[in-house]
């Protein structure tokens, strides 16, 4: 189990770093959007590339922040039955769910979206708006983001398996995310 746990730690570290970047991107997206509106009103100036930057940031945050959110166990569940399970039961459910639902689905989505990115990349796709941004980099976040979630799934599965074998203790407590 030890080498696997080392892999898990490495994945956790990576997603933690990525998550920290996404945190700041949220603030940045907010400021960019507000400044765009303010400048357009007062100076009648607007730039398509800055308008596109807003949702580029959103896309990056959603796709790359999800693995971090998953690591912190903050994806919402229908918890009625889940809360009735014992702690071990919850660990088992998470382990099986991750291996059966999450990892295959995310790998498949990553594969499916790769060709979308690839097509865009080989034609060097650009925004249709004057002064817009390149399109292919933002299409890359789909395959990459889904892959990162799958990776985090592997890490969580390793941790839960190790916890079930009693090799480590993890804090897998689920609390409903607030909204």
């Amino acid at each position: 189990m030890r080498p696997l746990l080392a892999i898990s730690t490495a994945i956790d570290w990576l997603n933690e770093k990525v998550g920290n970047v996404c945190n700041v991107l949220i603030l940045a997206a907010c400021l960019v959007s507000a400044v765009n509106a303010m400048i357009r009103y007062a100076f009648s100036y607007s730039s398509n590339s800055w308008l596109e930057t807003q949702w580029y940031m959103f896309a990056v945050v959603v796709m790359f922040g999800s693995s971090y959110t998953f690591k912190r166990n903050e994806h919402v569940r229908v918890e009625i039955l889940y809360l009735m399970l014992s702690e071990r039961g919850q660990l088992w459910l998470d382990l099986i769910g991750t291996l059966v639902f999450l990892v295959p689905a995310c790998l498949l989505l990553s594969y499916l979206s790769w060709s979308m990115f690839h097509n865009s990349f080989i034609i060097g796709e650009m925004s249709n708006n004057a002064g817009g941004l390149m399109r292919w980099p933002i299409k890359f976040v789909l395959p990459a983001g889904f892959f990162m979630v799958a990776l985090q799934g592997v890490s969580e599965a390793i941790k839960r398996a190790a916890a079930l074998r009693g090799e480590v203790t993890i804090d897998a407590k689920y609390e409903r995310p607030t909204q």
């Binding site: 949220i26 959007s33 507000a34 509106a37 009103y41 998953f70 009625i80 249709n128 933002i138 995310p177």
Partner: protein, 534 residues
Amino acid sequence: MITIEMMPPLMFGGLVVAMLIGYPVAFTLAALGLSFGFLAIHEGFFGFSFLQAIPERIYGSVLANELLLAIPFFTFMGSILERCGLAEDMLDSMGQLFGPIRGGLGYSVIIVGFILGAITGTVAAQVIAMALISMPVMIRYGYNMRYITGVLAASGTITQLVPPSLVLIVLADQLGKSVGDMYLGAWGPSILQIALFAGYTFVLSVIKPGHVPAVPKEARTLTGWALWRKCLLGIIPSAVLIFVVLGTMMLGLATPTEAGAMGAVGAIVLAVIHHKDFSSAGHKVLLVGVAAAGVGTIIGIYFTPNLAFKIAFAIAYLAVAWVCLEAVRIPDLRDLVKQGYQTTMRITCMVTFILIGSTCFSIVFLGCNGGVWLEHMLTSLPGGVWGFLIFMNLFIFFIAFFLDFFEIAFIIIPMIAPIAQKLLTPVVGADAALIWFGVMLCVNMQTSFLHPPFGFALFYLRGVAPKEVKSSDIYWGAMPWIGLQAIMVAVVIAFPITVTGLLDAPRNVDLDKVKIEIPDIELPPPLDFGQPKN
């Protein structure tokens, strides 16, 4: 053998079972959709290339959807306002103003709930902030415990319905309607609901005066002018923020998304002004900024925008930037902002991933003629339109025990929107049909926050309530208010005019037209499976 007719019911049943397992909804939905997709490919209902539509759709209508940016912005705004002390000040002064009449503390909670609702749009912020300040006061003056918990939870929840609610933005997106129209439609029911809450409090104060006693006049710490001044100081900054968010949107100066972003910046400014360490230099800068903005606005209204207009606004913007920098300087506020964007990031990912998961599911579901199946079921209900509305509302009411608003909006709404459009058009006209339906569901979904034992509002309340408040009080306290919300749903169904009244009024600005060109989002070829598009 599986025929294509069997697929939709199978998928629907699978959805219910899989969700109940308790694995995170987003991934369950994605996995379920994809596995049924493979089953359908295996059975030859469509080819593998069909699944290629999924990433296209995720890219086109989720990631490149400018409207969904409102989710992080409004969440961020809410998380800042939650902890900047604004709600506390308003409740304190309002409570002192209304306290001496019977039920007065209740009225103050309801009114402040409405005002805060018009600023933020997130329930958590509101329930927590209001409970922290009002609950101890109400307990001290002998209010009935169940009334206290009920009024706090319900008044916090109303923020869902009062524009600029995030719920309405997401519903508008899923129903394919403009956010501005959705807001116009929601004003009527939200004001009626406030009236209903206040009316209930009034009736209670007449039949059971002991439940909502008057606060003795001597308990006021402020009187006369000082009290009025404090009330105004609480309300004026909020009114400015309401204008920044709602006004700019309604006047067509900003898209809903940008209004959210400006609201978030405005919330930071408000938090700085409110903070005790706000420097005196900052005060002066702020006053200059406000004056410049005033001058700029006057020029903007009476003259064509000229150089003076630009300079005035440049000064105002610099003042805003200065005040925001104060937030970086003051350690408390720095932490506040930091925590704000961190939680916002996780909530945004969580919510948006539900939409990504449900996109996987619904593409396959519609590809297997699920839309036709649902339509057939829902249109053959007895009672025609009214049967449909009553069924849908009961359905949403009960499903809200298990699902949150976002799950309902992303999973269920897109499936029934085309059917609702078709059925409701004869009643209120094609344009207003989905607005009416959306607002109705929005009123209905408020109850999901109050359902024991999983209602969010109750959950927050439990988190901040003092020990002497029993959980059973929280649960039972919510009941009458759920009833009031149900009455409101009935009113909206029976009198569509409550929603459509404002819609019919002539407007100078057509929000659809002033919407900024969303730079080409390369929508995939529309996946039209033969249902009517609106």
